[in-house]
């Protein structure tokens, strides 16, 4: 098992770290603190945070509707949720551009703005929270809610005090996955963002530009920052989750 993990994840990650130190510590620092790199990192993590938050709310809502409500075509909607995973992200970008671009049929033109970056990320990260909350909601004993209701709790109180605490761990792990994915996304963003440095250029595109300018070391260095910050964010979310579960019991 360890060997498998090593080959699939650890060694490639180690290789990126190794590569990033090719220019020494100073080279590393210069690469990640260049104004263009900083701006793209700021945009990337900002957008990822927004996306994670929206997913937390909307993903839970969708999961709720899919588990608790009955409506015609539910099975179809349920299988639609995973499509953003199956669609090559560059196709997703192309589609979003056609829809929300200057000639889109909806009359919404957000292409080439930061809004577009967020929209593209929302599209590709949709399944994470839905799919992690759904099974928990399925397993949730409806008798608990009934008991609460019989003791006089209103709908909001039941949701806040009974349902939500049970869902929080699942929501958080979904949010963590969505966040990490948003940070590293490339294909869906590259077409619709317009890619203007300092305005709409995300870190993954900045990395691509470093590679294209024959600066593989700088590319690896920025990747390390992405990895490091994502790791910290995931760790923080995990800690909150653990604290929550411990607190609960």
């Amino acid at each position: 098992m360890i060997g498998y993990l090593g080959f699939i994840v650890l060694i490639p990650l180690a290789a990126v770290v190794w590569k990033s130190t090719g220019g020494g510590l100073e080279g590393f620092w210069n690469a990640v603190t260049s104004p263009a790199a900083l701006a793209s990192l700021k945009l990337t993590f900002g957008a990822a945070a927004v996306v994670a938050l929206v997913n937390a709310v909307m993903g839970t809502l969708i999961a709720w509707v899919l588990v608790r409500d009955e409506f015609p075509g539910k099975g179809l909607v349920n299988s639609l949720i995973d499509l953003p995973f199956a669609l090559p992200t560059i196709v997703a970008g192309l589609t979003l551009l056609a829809l929300y671009g200057p000639r889109g049929p909806l009359g919404v033109n957000i292409a080439y703005t930061r809004m577009a970056v967020v929209a593209a990320l929302l599209f590709v990260t949709l399944p994470f929270v839905v799919r992690s909350v759904q099974p928990v909601l399925h397993e949730l004993d409806i008798e608990m809610e009934e008991a609460a209701a019989s003791l006089g709790a209103g709908g909001l109180t039941i949701f806040r005090r009974v349902i939500l605490p049970n869902l929080v761990p699942a929501i958080l792990s979904g949010v963590a996955l969505a966040f990490a994915r948003a940070v590293g996304e490339f294909g869906a963003v590259i077409l619709i963002s317009g890619n203007v440095p300092f305005k709409t250029q995300v870190a993954s595109v900045q990395i691509f530009s470093a590679i294209e300018s024959d600066r593989p070391t700088a590319a690896a260095a920025i990747s390390i920052v992405l990895l490091g910050l994502s790791f910290l964010a995931l760790l923080a979310i995990d800690l909150v989750r653990r604290f929550g579960t411990k607190h609960e019991r």
Binding site: I11, A15, K19, N30, G194, N195, F198, K199, S209, R215
Partner: protein, 340 residues
């Protein structure tokens, strides 16, 4: 603790060997065999746009005596990526890129002989020029480089740092100023102004075309062959060849251990037949007698990249990501748009 550091070292060593051996695999999706010594098989690695021309040129070559029975494996992609893939081990017998620095990279790696550009065409197999792609009927009446700076005109050009080929556009704008008698500082000031009008900087030339045909922008800086391809595909665009522009030259080379048939193929690329196919696909033939049969307009002032010291010099002076002229312009622009 000692054991842990031992593990780290061996992991790192493993990682290195993986990097060294693994990279070759990344770009080779289109190639299953290793070209080179097969005799009857040639591997062509090229940038993306000439694919349509090669679809006609290869069958034509196979009909000649030299090309009889030669099979082809082809791989097309962004010029810089293709070049890096070959450098990292992607098998290739013939390479064609959008600019000669992508071949220089292979010369430095010992994969292409340094005499590659010693033929009478200096190693270049097709030419093109930087043009203005405009909406059908040219509603904004864009004719000159100065028109690009008119109030409200939105310009689309790929990001010169993600698209090596897009650097031609910037150099065309710069060359146009110099050939109109402007000083170097004035030409740089023009570039600065121009970037204020650039609304989108797509990652590649094809992405930029997509953006433009999708309805964004008033002018797209692109290559004549891309504009012609777009028209041939039925896109509603016109293009204007400005009075001052730059000559785009696309290099071709055989790799050092390629079989004789690779050299035969490159020789065929300079034949009237192959040059004519390139010409029909929107490229300017480098063979003059063939070029004369097409009516590609000759701009009054046509600069070449050699006028500015060649790509080696231009890359450092303009496109160094930290100190290059263009990097500084983008930085200035970024700072001003960030606060505004």
């Amino acid at each position: 603790m000692k054991r842990i550091s031992g593990i780290v070292v061996s992991l790192a060593a493993l990682a290195l060997t993986l990097v060294a051996s693994g990279c070759g695999g990344t770009g080779s999706a289109a190639n299953e065999g290793s070209g080179g010594s097969g005799g009857g098989k040639l591997t062509l690695v090229a940038y993306s746009t000439p694919q349509e021309a090669y679809e006609e040129i290869i069958p034509a070559f196979q009909k000649t005596a030299a090309g009889k029975g030669v099979e082809f494996e082809q791989s097309y992609g962004a010029s810089g990526e293709q070049s890096r893939a070959v450098e990292a081990g992607l098998p290739a017998d013939v390479v064609e890129f959008s600019l000669d620095s992508d071949i220089t990279r292979l010369v430095d790696a010992g994969l292409v002989d340094s005499s590659w550009n010693q033929n009478s065409y200096k190693g270049m197999v097709t030419d093109s020029v930087v043009v203005f792609v405009v909406r059908k009927g040219n509603p904004d009446n864009i004719q000159t480089w100065d028109d690009l700076l008119d109030e409200g005109v939105e310009v689309i050009t790929p990001n010169p740092f993600t698209s090596g080929g897009a650097r031609w556009n910037i150099m065309a704008a710069y060359a146009a100023q110099i050939s109109q008698g402007k000083s170097k500082d004035e030409a740089i000031a023009y570039l600065n102004e121009l970037f204020h009008h650039v609304a989108v900087q797509d990652a590649s030339a094809r992405d930029a075309l997509q953006t433009f045909t999708g309805g964004k922008g008033d002018v797209l800086l692109s290559y004549e062959n891309e504009a012609i391809t777009a028209q041939q595909k039925g896109e509603d665009v016109d293009y204007v060849v400005p009075d001052q522009t730059i000559l785009i030259e696309n290099p071709v080379a055989v790799t050092s251990d390629a079989p004789q048939s690779a050299a035969d193929f490159v020789k065929f690329l300079y034949s009237d037949e192959a040059q004519k196919i390139f010409g029909e696909k929107g490229y300017r033939p480098v063979v003059k007698s063939v070029a004369d049969t097409f009516d590609y307009p000759t701009p009054p002032s046509l600069s070449t990249i050699a006028d500015f010291g060649g790509w080696g010099t231009v890359k450092d002076e303009f496109f160094d990501p930290e100190n290059g002229i263009v990097a500084k312009i983008e930085l200035e622009l970024g700072v001003s748009t960030d606060s505004g």
